[in-house]
């Protein structure tokens, strides 16, 4: 691509890449609480603070709930804010996630995806952010450390877009990405600064009848976070849903704009399709598993199997049309879920993909594979087994088991 800027290669873990991206994005307030496997993000960032490398107020709150409350309040005051968490910390924030999106605060949060208790488990799976998919936050899932660096920077632009104004979660797999060192191409400080720019505020009409910037400012008093009775609450939620719809376009725009600078594009920003054009069987997944799956697809392709992979980068808002058209010609789809909705007949991603494909011109077979819970490793061999199952389904025109567990000791 022409005009791609000069970039430096740094050896960074996923967590370090997050911290570095935040460092460059002129963030005003970071309020956070440590939890494995996100700890390196806050530790690294506090080093930048201690060495005067950032102009950021770093608030070490006494819990995650307070961390998000502080970020929300800071955002309401006009600041650009960031926080990070995982697992139980994200769960503790649950109440505040809804409040943050309801207050239309463009907070950006990195989630080092980790299993939820009980029993206690510090390793990677996606149950934590899956459990928050109704909270009104945009959710992006990344494949590697490079993408997490790029996505954090993009997240500020997506969140703060005047047609969006929604908070964003960027999910990176716990330990697999958070703690693994990779080569990451980083942009220069100036370029990132230029890309994120200064936070723009929408104008609102206050009770004083003036149209003023949306922030807590003694010069233009306004009341935020009121009680809305049944005669109004519904309309505010509709506004949020509209913002989610707008986000689909904005995420794509930001992805292409960023690609102009960096030379890196993640599919169209919403989905990353790999060998799907003529694929007959395909696996759908989120996150780092896509990396391993690509190797498996390559292997199968060499053997003449028409296999493909669809990685969902943007899970919320759900890119319905894009998923449907990406999987248009696929005859059997396996959805891999690194989380489980107990009693819900499969995982969350399975539910969503299946419901999208219900309206497809030709409905493919759609089956579910629950894997990786609590950081259970899944081998390329096991993943290849999933493609082999799909082949069997097409041969026999029958689904024996709609939902299976990969690597579980039965």
């Amino acid at each position: 691509m022409k005009n791609v800027v000069k970039q430096e290669i740094m050896a960074l873990s996923g967590d370090e890449a997050v911290a570095y991206a935040v460092k460059q994005s002129d963030v005003d307030v970071v309020a956070a609480y440590p939890i494995t496997p996100q700890t390196i993000i806050v530790e690294k960032f506090s080093e930048y603070v201690a060495n005067g490398q950032v102009q950021t107020e770093f608030v070490c709150t006494e819990s995650e709930h307070s961390a998000l409350a502080a970020c929300l309040a800071a955002s309401a005051t006009g600041a650009r804010t960031f926080t990070a968490s995982a697992s139980a910390g994200l769960a503790l924030m649950h109440e505040m996630l809804f409040v943050t999106s309801g207050c239309r605060a463009p907070v950006v949060m990195a989630i080092a995806n980790r299993a939820l208790s009980a029993p206690l488990n510090i390793h990677g799976d996606q149950s934590d952010s899956m459990a928050q998919r109704d909270s009104g936050w945009i959710q992006l899932y990344v494949e590697n450390a490079q993408e997490v660096y790029d996505s954090i920077i993009q997240a500020f632009r997506i969140a703060e877009d005047l047609n969006v104004l929604l908070p964003v979660i960027v999910g990176l797999d716990g330990f697999t990405l958070s703690h693994t060192l990779e080569n990451v191409k980083v942009l220069s400080d100036d370029v990132v600064n230029g890309f994120v720019g200064m936070r723009q505020l929408p104008n609102v009409v206050t009770h004083e009848g003036k149209s003023v910037p949306f922030k807590l400012d003694p010069e233009n008093p306004m009341t935020m976070g009121p009680i809305a009775l049944p005669n109004y609450y519904f309309e505010f939620k509709r506004q949020q849903d509209e913002a989610m719809k707008n986000a689909l376009a904005v995420i794509q725009q930001v992805n292409s704009e960023y690609a102009e600078l960096s030379g890196r594009s993640y599919g169209n920003g919403l989905l990353d399709a790999y060998c799907l054009d003529d694929a007959e069987i395909a696996v759908v997944c989120l996150g780092s598993t896509a990396g391993t799956l690509k190797t498996v697809v390559d292997e199968l392709r060499k053997e003449g199997v028409k296999a493909g992979l669809l990685r969902i980068r943007t899970f919320r808002p759900l890119p319905v049309e894009e998923i449907r058209s990406a999987l248009e010609n696929v005859k059997a789809v396996a959805v891999m879920d690194k989380s489980l909705s107990f009693g819900g007949n499969g995982g969350a991603v399975f539910h969503e993909i299946r419901h999208v494909l219900y309206d497809a011109k030709v409905q493919p077979y759609v089956v579910n594979y629950i894997y990786g819970l609590g950081g259970r490793d899944t081998s390329p061999r096991e993943m290849r087994g999933i493609f082999e199952d799909l082949q069997r389904i097409l041969q026999t025109q029958r689904v024996e088991k709609s939902i299976q567990y990969v690597g579980l000791r039965e």
Binding site: T56, V59, A69, A70, A73
Partner: protein, 320 residues
């Protein structure tokens, strides 16, 4: 601290209200008077953040607002966490040249629910971190907004909907949590108690709290006629009785040095004038069951508990 703020009653009466009429609080609401008075003590640009509770709900029923200052509500636990975030944002944005005001006062407002119980963690954390804000507790001694359920601030013997006065258990048996003393133990610059009847004292303490560089905590007694089953006309009078009976003494702690405020000092100097707690308790429906023969002992316990705490306070103030 800066020079003492001098004001006449007329000055305060003429100062425009920043907690506006048209809010939906009950007739005779103590907290509403408290809030009006607190806002009269502001000194310049001010941002208020409030926890969920009576005063939050009555003053912000969309599309109406009773707030003439920037105001944020997020959740029940978060008054102090919000204040931390606002303070951090203003600090850094000022450094970056994005804030006009030289200084903005931040007031975090919460009821006893949002302070003693669900809000205690955020309050303790914010104070430990030393944020520059004033936390005001308007204490009506129960979770009034949700229907008068007991809180850590409910006094011993009070009937609430979760500690009703029954035939076996006569109301709440636990003591009122000594929240102001908990805050003093944080070694914070300013902690004080106030009551609306002594409005001058209340205004001075709010002003002092705002002037402190760092966290300040103000515990304000705020009678609730609905929850206390008391005469709405007597809400302010009850705050006076609470001080005169030493149920709610007035004092302040400046950097750990405690001193009684004038209304309580008068009681200390003339102990024979100290009123028995029954003067305060009677007339309040929540304490009515205490005046039956089987609860005589509980009534005596309340008097001795009040006396014990009063003596401890006197000792602490003399030692300073």
């Amino acid at each position: 601290m800066t020079e003492e703020w001098k004001f006449t009653t007329k000055d305060i009466a003429e100062k425009p209200d920043l907690f506006l009429s048209g809010h939906r609080a009950c007739a005779g609401c103590g907290p509403a008077t408290v809030l009006r008075l607190i806002m009269k003590a502001t000194r310049g640009p001010t941002i208020v953040t409030e926890a969920t509770g009576c005063m939050e709900v009555v003053s912000s029923i969309y599309p109406y607002t009773s707030w003439g200052v920037p105001w944020l509500h997020t959740a029940f636990e978060t008054a102090a966490a919000n204040a931390s975030g606002i303070e951090a944002a203003l600090k850094i944005m000022k450094k970056k040249g994005r804030v006009k005001q030289e200084h903005t006062d931040i007031i975090a407002l919460a009821g006893d629910g949002g302070t003693y119980d669900i809000g205690l963690q955020a309050l303790s954390g914010a104070v430990e971190r030393g944020h520059d804000f004033l936390f005001v507790l308007y204490d009506n001694e129960a979770y009034m907004n949700t229907g008068i359920q007991r809180s850590g601030g409910t006094p011993k013997g009070a009937a609430t909907t979760t500690t009703p006065a029954g035939s076996v258990v006569p109301g709440k048996l636990e003591h009122k949590k000594p929240i102001a003393e908990i805050m003093i133990a944080h070694e914070m610059p300013y902690v004080a108690t106030a009551a609306p009847y002594y409005w001058r004292d209340l205004l001075m303490k709010v002003r002092k709290g705002l002037e402190v560089e760092g966290p300040a905590f103000l515990h304000v007694f705020a009678p609730c006629p609905r929850g206390w089953r008391s005469d709405p006309a007597k809400s302010i009078e009850y705050s006076k009785l609470a001080v005169e009976t030493c149920v709610f003494p007035l004092w302040e702690s400046v950097n750990g040095q405690c001193q009684l405020s004038v209304p309580s000092k008068l009681v200390a100097l003339a102990p024979q004038k100290k009123k028995p707690v029954t003067d305060y308790l009677q007339g309040q429906g929540r304490f009515r069951h205490l005046f039956t023969p089987q609860n005589k002992k509980l009534l005596e316990e309340i008097q001795s508990l009040t006396d014990e705490r009063w003596q401890r306070l006197l000792k602490k103030c003399q030692a300073s």
